[in-house]
Symmetry: C2
Subunit: 404 residues, 2 copies
């Protein structure tokens, strides 16, 4: 008789955003007259940029013509896209990342969940707390996290790096030595960044203890301050210790288009074994390339028009971020993030738990946010709002919260 992967049984509850979706559905069903404003899941609302739309139409036409039709994409991505990424995301910032170190994928969520596969079962992971749930859940499924303590809401074999108001939401080097460290900067959910000098300390630490850093730079486009690194490869020595994940979802609104990439440097090795080769093998065996049309859309984000249009889109969302942050401050809330990230991280008022505040906001203001505790135990008492709504909805939601 076949057996299941028992690790799945250890997972408590459902994926955070599925739970939220169910709660919202239930509320909508019982209050059909209420107009909900969603500032929960980090989904964009602005349409794709004209340069991207034009590139996609052209690519669709190519696919309809025998002479320009494209079948299977190269396993690791089209050269035109890998070249554009290497040029604009790395070379222009002084990072020596070559096109063949870039693996194009269907998005950073898949990559961030799949990357653990090339590591041994016995590795210990370290994560910020609070944290994007996929890092931990994918390791639970792989059996790397030990047992779940439902009271503490922690895993016995995971090293947690609490990020709270007390330490400015910046992770400290853990007491126990990790093998893999997940860092997301600018941070989801807290919106925090660290100066480049501080990131360099993490790179030095990883090289010293022999840990690999899984660096999630999905929100890089929202960095507005000059001393914050856009890529971990701006730090010296990062190519021997860091894998970088990038998304087109937030800088270009590709949440429904699906495109991302992962950099695995050739220098990154475990003994003689190249992680670059392992990831190439994984990609070649378990993935079949991002759609041609989507890769052309990605290329268009690097054209002069594309870049200008995306800068405007990011500015639009950052105007929302500033409005939420300032508006909530004026209403007496304690608020973080929103400067180098599209997320506002707030302290729940009156000692409410995160889920109590979620229900309160949903029921009283018909606004959906994300409970901080859904990202980990140290997120308890916090709450995340995103800047990805429309400006009108953002102001409307803010007004409703201010009037509570």
């Amino acid at each position: 008789m076949f057996k299941i992967n028992q690790n799945y049984q250890k997972l408590p509850g459902s994926y955070l955003f599925s739970t939220i979706a169910q709660k919202v559905s239930a509320f909508t069903a019982s209050h059909p007259d209420k107009e909900i404003i969603r500032l929960g899941i980090g989904d964009v609302t602005q349409p794709l940029a004209p340069a991207v739309i034009a590139a996609m139409h052209q690519a669709v036409d190519e696919m309809g013509n025998a002479a320009t039709f494209h079948g299977y994409a190269p396993d690791l991505g089209y050269g035109f896209l890998r070249d554009a990424i290497a040029e604009h995301d790395y070379k222009s910032r002084g990072c020596a990342v070559s096109p063949d170190e870039i693996f194009v994928s269907d998005g950073a969520k898949s990559d961030s969940a799949n990357i653990q596969e090339i590591f041994g079962q016995e590795n210990r992971i370290a994560v910020c707390d609070p944290v994007y749930p996929v890092y931990v859940d994918s390791n639970v499924m792989a059996g790397r996290t030990g047992d779940y303590d439902s009271k503490a809401e922690t895993w016995s074999n995971v090293i947690y790096m609490p990020c709270t108001m007390e330490n400015g939401f910046v992770p400290e080097f853990p007491k126990e030595t990790p093998d893999m460290v997940y860092l997301c900067l600018p941070n989801n959910p807290t919106g925090t960044t660290i100066p480049k000098a501080k990131l360099q300390e993490w790179v030095d630490y990883a090289n010293k203890v022999g840990a690999v850093i899984i660096y999630d730079a999905a929100y890089e486009a929202y960095i507005s301050e000059p001393d914050v690194a856009h890529s971990i490869y701006e730090c010296e020595g990062a190519k021997t210790c860091a894998i970088e994940l990038k998304s087109f979802s937030k800088n270009a609104g590709f949440t429904g288009v699906r495109l991302g990439y992962t950099v695995v440097p050739k220098e990154l090795k475990c003994g003689e074994v190249s992680l670059h080769q392992m990831w190439a093998r994984r990609h070649g065996t378990k993935f079949n390339g991002a759609p041609y049309i989507v890769q052309r859309a990605g290329e268009a984000t690097y054209s002069p028009e594309g870049k200008a249009q995306l800068r405007e889109q990011v500015a639009y969302y950052m105007k929302n971020a500033a409005a939420i942050k300032n508006g909530l401050k004026d209403a007496g809330y304690t608020v973080f993030g929103g400067v180098n990230a599209p997320y506002i991280w707030l302290k729940t008022p009156g000692n409410m738990t995160s889920w109590e505040f979620f229900d309160y906001l949903l029921e009283q203001a018909n606004v959906v946010g994300t409970p901080g505790s859904g990202f980990g135990p140290s997120g308890e008492g916090y709450f995340r709002l995103t800047a990805f709504g429309t400006y009108e909805n953002t102001l409307a939601a803010l007004k409703r919260i201010q009037e509570l």
Copy 2:
């Protein structure tokens, strides 16, 4: 110090089709004047159908307009596509598969590689020999296959079901009891099918011994004979023992578009645990949906125009298949497949090994095929040609082979 997944080190050589691509590149570089005809990798050559192109253009326009923009897709696929699949691929054939048993993905390759994740490490897999390499390689990466015997080219913990000329390329029930059985019908690479009554025997066997069948129906559209099942759910009892994988790559030319789906019936359980819920959890945690534009393209394949256009495309390729099959027979080759499948499986002439014949064809006829031994030890002495070329190229390749 971090450790790697040692199972990757066990994988012999590179992924089959990467090896072929490298050999062809090397030959082209040293013989720039030779015009290569590729009948190796199963990649389509006909452009996307007009109905699909129209749907994609419309979806691109929607993505460029705030009022019709689509962000994150529902985890498991859009309702419009899941409904169309349920109606046209199942209900119309008398199979009771509901839309919420259908999980939309970026293709059957990913699904066929990922599906093993929800099963326990201790399961033993059974595969046909020869077989699509992804089934075995994904289980190697997961550590489920034991040790590799490089002489026999087999894994110690894999149950092989030889499919050779002697048994008509039809797998027999293995002597040892498997937990998971991979069946691909119509078969890649041999082009074989089995009658529905024979498939029913497999379903009865799986239910009796408590095995799960991973049924890869990627080539279903090429079935031309009436007594061959288009879905395993045409067999009684399949919903308690079978997962079905489907692709849009071969019936609709989506190799560069990327769309597939997997059916995990709600009745499929291990004790009290629902595999449907496990796969939903996997999908929700490690995948973020197929692109909206691509799902609209998929929907268009089920419209009356789409269906008619795809029937023509399949007929085009099957005309190639018939031409290759008959042409090779006339030239004295022993040939199989090509009736219910786009693959021609031939016995190599003069006792050549599969790779010897590969080199011979590449060098003497400048035609690329796939060595049978690349699919497993019982494929040695066989060779695969695909019908996915253009008609002109197919005839030209045939002429070159006939003239050898």
